[in-house]
């Protein structure tokens, strides 16, 4: 973790010298969050979940995943996730069949509703898998999205 942080801070320092103006006003600590390297490097869901520090998940019907049944373009798949689980602290999103399943983690304070709207890349038809961290427990739901043209590159 520390190695990661030093790397981020060092690379930011290099950019700060070249950049000018408002960029320099924000303190470094406010910007460099510990990016969960182990989760993002994982090649399967189980390892990614462990890397996130989430526990064994229980299925939940209170997680709503809105995504197209068929995505024409795997490079841009619109995705909305809502957690109706009380005390939701974070939502994590994975795509089972992507080269690295981890897509993102969204961590909420009391000022932000547990609702995520974004666009993701899917390499091929796959389950979109959502994990919710709430009240010290982990919950999960999935939704299958068919992909016509894959969007991971190559």
């Amino acid at each position: 973790m520390d190695k990661m942080r030093r790397k981020v801070l060092r690379s930011f320092g290099g950019t700060a010298i070249l950049a000018a103006g408002a960029v320099l006003l924000q303190p470094l600590e406010a910007l460099a969050i510990d990016w969960k390297t182990a989760a993002y490097g994982a090649k399967n869901n189980a390892d990614a979940l462990k890397g996130l520090g989430y526990g064994d998940p229980a299925s939940s019907a209170d997680i709503v995943i809105k995504a197209p049944d068929i995505a024409e373009n795997g490079s841009v798949v619109p995705l909305e996730v809502v957690s109706n689980i009380p005390g939701t602290e974070a939502i994590a999103i994975m795509v089972d069949k992507n080269p690295s399943p981890m897509v993102g983690e969204f961590i909420f304070s009391s000022h932000v509703d547990p609702y995520v709207s974004t666009r993701i890349k899917m390499g091929e038809t796959s389950a979109v898998r959502v994990f919710v961290k709430a009240g010290g427990k982990t919950y999960t739901a999935t939704r299958e999205v068919k992909v016509t043209i894959g969007g991971c590159g190559g």
Partner: protein
């Protein structure tokens, strides 16, 4: 280097619906440059933070599987007209960008 971000915050009561559009190639590292035949290196926004009146209220971590020119929608609760909202991102090369807006009544 980074282009301006677009942000829109619409207030209804004490809840603001926020939409942010960022400008970033979000390269997966799996794409080949058609002209040179070289692999285009991994280049993606790794984290996004949203701050309300200077305090971080939302932390987001991303992989390269978020689409190019990332879109992020979220809902802020317990906000009022005049509150300052800023959204900042940091990518894997250390590049960064931010945008600030003031929440206005609908």
């Amino acid at each position: 280097m980074a282009e301006p971000m677009k942000i829109r915050a619409q207030l209804q009561g004490n809840v603001a619906d926020v939409k942010v559009l960022m400008n970033h190639p979000m390269e997966t590292g799996n794409r080949k440059d058609a002209k040179t035949g070289q692999m285009i290196p991994l280049h993606f926004i790794r984290q996004v933070t949203a701050s309300l009146n200077g305090a971080v209220v939302y932390e987001v971590q991303w992989s390269q599987a978020i689409s190019k020119n990332p879109y992020l929608g979220f809902r802020l609760r317990g906000v009022k007209a005049g509150d300052r909202l800023s959204v900042a991102w940091l990518d894997n090369t250390g590049d960064k960008n931010a945008v600030e807006t003031v929440i206005v009544s609908n």
